[in-house]
């Protein structure tokens, strides 16, 4: 594993700016640098409460450096029957934490002999994230439904804070939709309005940040495979903003009745415009 950080990386880390493009290594290296980078879910994740449940959404991209390791990732991970978590940050860290919490919550639920509370799940996440805060890079949204308080969204960002919020966004792409969320969310939305809001918000992040919108990519794909490859190659190296979000939009709505999951492909974007 390469341990040296170039000056560029150090500066980028200080400025909290992702490094774009391929690093030119100091020594000629047979193995390109993205093979030694940690896998990160760059991400846009969102969760919205409504009366009777929650709606959660996420993009589907996992990156190692500038290479997309998985373009159809499922970042909405079930923790229990009616409790999900949205993962952002390091893929390994979040997968490991989610596995641990799934086990702990399952055990707790069996001891209790009733479905666990969303607040319990959130506190289990917080316990792990806070205790190992120096070693972990994990930003998690815990969302679900329970009988006591209905639909709830809890935010457990990097560092291990825990706070309940009616609406929460997370991941590196979230900064681009704070304005959108502030203007479009109001309390008392119905389930369908929440679904549209989440889909639009998540897709907005992916869309706003590519040189070519993903609808164009998908149209080109149908035209010619080789052109699609070259276009996606182009997009890979010339993205601006949060190129770490993209792929498809995954939605899930959780309520007393159960969990409905949906996938929105690039050409199924909800019709949304500010003008």
């Amino acid at each position: 594993m390469r341990s040296g950080t170039t000056l560029r990386e150090k500066m980028a880390a200080a400025a909290m700016v992702p490094i774009f493009g391929q690093n030119v290594s100091d020594k000629y290296d047979l193995v390109p640098d993205w093979t030694s980078r940690e896998v990160s879910t760059g991400t846009t994740i969102m969760a919205v409460e409504y009366d009777g449940g929650v709606v959660i959404g996420a993009d589907s991209r996992t990156t190692t450096g500038a290479y997309i390791a998985n373009r159809v990732t499922d970042k909405l991970t079930p923790i229990h029957d009616r409790i999900f978590c949205c993962r952002s940050g390091s893929a390994a860290d979040t997968q490991a934490i989610a596995d641990v919490v799934t086990y702990q919550l399952g055990f707790h639920s069996i001891e209790l002999d009733e479905p666990p509370l969303v607040e319990t799940a959130a506190n289990l996440f917080k316990a792990s994230c806070y205790r190992y805060r120096e070693e972990l890079t994990a930003g998690i949204l815990v969302a679900g439904w329970d009988r006591r308080k209905g639909g709830q969204v809890y935010c457990v960002p990097i560092g291990g804070m825990l706070v309940r919020q009616p609406v929460s966004v997370g991941g590196s792409g979230s900064s681009y939709i704070y304005g959108f969320m502030d203007s479009n969310y109001k309390p008392g939305l119905s389930k369908d309005q929440c679904l549209e809001l989440t889909a639009a918000g998540t897709h907005c992040c992916c869309k706003a940040c590519w040189e070519l919108p993903s609808t164009v990519i998908h149209t080109l794909y149908h035209l010619s495979h080789s052109l699609y490859l070259s276009v996606s190659q182009l997009c890979l190296w010339r993205w601006r903003g949060d190129g770490s979000s993209g792929g498809v939009v995954r939605l899930a709505s959780i309520s007393e009745e159960g969990v409905e999951r949906r996938v929105l492909l690039g050409n199924q974007l909800p019709k949304f415009s500010t003008h």
Binding site: L30, T35, T64, N70, T73, A92, Q95, A96
Partner: protein, 332 residues
């Protein structure tokens, strides 16, 4: 998790060191050049007998990092550099087809800029129905897959069932996460179990993805381009083999870290086809010239008579049997 936690309890090992282990303390770097006792006056500097303390069990010990840093400093002063760890530059990939899994790998192992092994085997056995391709540091992939294979066999004996791919995946990801990426093993795990064919990609830090087609290694971009173009769900076995072969070939020809031959492993329910080599994409010393292959490597056997014989003298050696003893083994 008997075997692995016993050998690889890094935390315990650390604690033992701090508490003052029963082993001799590791030699501090400064004393490598001379090792003397008070009584004797040395007339010259002796090289230390290298009784560096060995930990009682296997597993990671970071004692030698200080020594390595010192050695590297000294080597750099002289002007040479330490040998690089052998990496498998590699293209590995896997694809799910109608009846099972096809795994593919190239066969080049590199040590820095040199090809260390022209025909190494990167598809490792995990269990009769599960195989794993490994990219990254060769030793790490080899040992990791062997450890998990051993644990999985014990697990299967204890459950009485054929092991599942998800189990192997869990074991691998939990081990790699425990070592926080220091084990440089990037794996493509595939197999067929009671729930059908499954394919996972496992990264050195411990994250996994379950997908219908995956590629790993330095040549993964080239191989993924082929997959993205031609993958279809529910392919036939021959199509899948051809696709994997083409993907690995793309890695071999477009990536410097991959080369030589293409190995395939086809896993279906009840049958495993380990095809090594499936395709000798690069034959040494053969240049394909306008459709015909010219043999270019020399044949170093010379005909009798190439060298003229001046004299010949044959002396039979007289051997006589002096003594013969037979000792029977006590096999009672």
């Amino acid at each position: 998790m008997g075997l692995s936690s016993h050998f690889f309890s890094y935390e315990n090992h650390n604690v033992r060191l701090y508490k003052g282990s029963t082993n001799a303390a590791p030699l501090p770097a400064a004393s490598i050049t001379s090792f003397t006792s008070r009584k004797h006056k040395p007339s010259f500097n002796k090289m230390a007998t290298l009784t560096v303390s060995r930990p009682l069990f296997g597993g990671f010990s970071f004692e030698n990092c200080k020594r390595n840093a010192l050695l590297e400093g000294e080597a750099n002063k002289v002007g040479c550099s330490l040998p690089a760890a052998r990496k498998t530059g590699t293209t590995i990939c896997g694809v799910v087809f109608k009846d099972g899994i096809v795994l593919g790998a190239d066969t080049r192992a590199t040590e820095g800029m040199i090809v260390a092994d022209k025909n190494c085997s990167k598809i490792h056995y995990i269990s009769p129905n599960i195989y794993c391709c490994g990219a990254g540091t060769a030793a790490d992939t080899e040992m990791t897959t062997q450890i998990i294979s051993s644990n999985l066999e014990l697990h299967a004996l204890s459950t009485g069932r054929l092991p599942r791919v998800a189990t192997a995946n869990r074991m691998l990801k939990q081990m790699l996460f425990r070592y926080q990426g220091y084990i440089g093993a990037a794996l493509v795990l595939g197999g067929v179990d009671c729930n059908g064919p499954h394919l996972y990609s496992i990264y050195p830090h411990g994250s996994t993805d379950k997908l219908p087609y995956v590629t790993m290694g330095s040549g993964s971009l080239a191989a993924m381009a082929v997959f993205e173009d031609r993958y279809k769900p529910d392919m036939e076995e021959e199509d899948a083999k051809r696709l994997v072969r083409d993907a690995i070939a793309a890695g071999i020809f477009n990536d410097l870290g991959s080369g030589s031959n293409i190995d395939l492993c086809v896993i279906t329910k009840g049958k495993v086809d380990y095809i090594r080599p499936h395709d000798e994409a690069n034959k040494k010393g053969v240049r394909v010239n306008e459709g015909e292959a010219l043999q270019l490597t020399g044949d170093y056997k010379y005909k009798r008579g190439t060298t003229g014989v001046l004299t010949k003298a044959v002396t039979p050696l007289a051997l006589e049997v002096v003594e013969e003893t037979v000792q029977t083994m006590d096999t009672s």
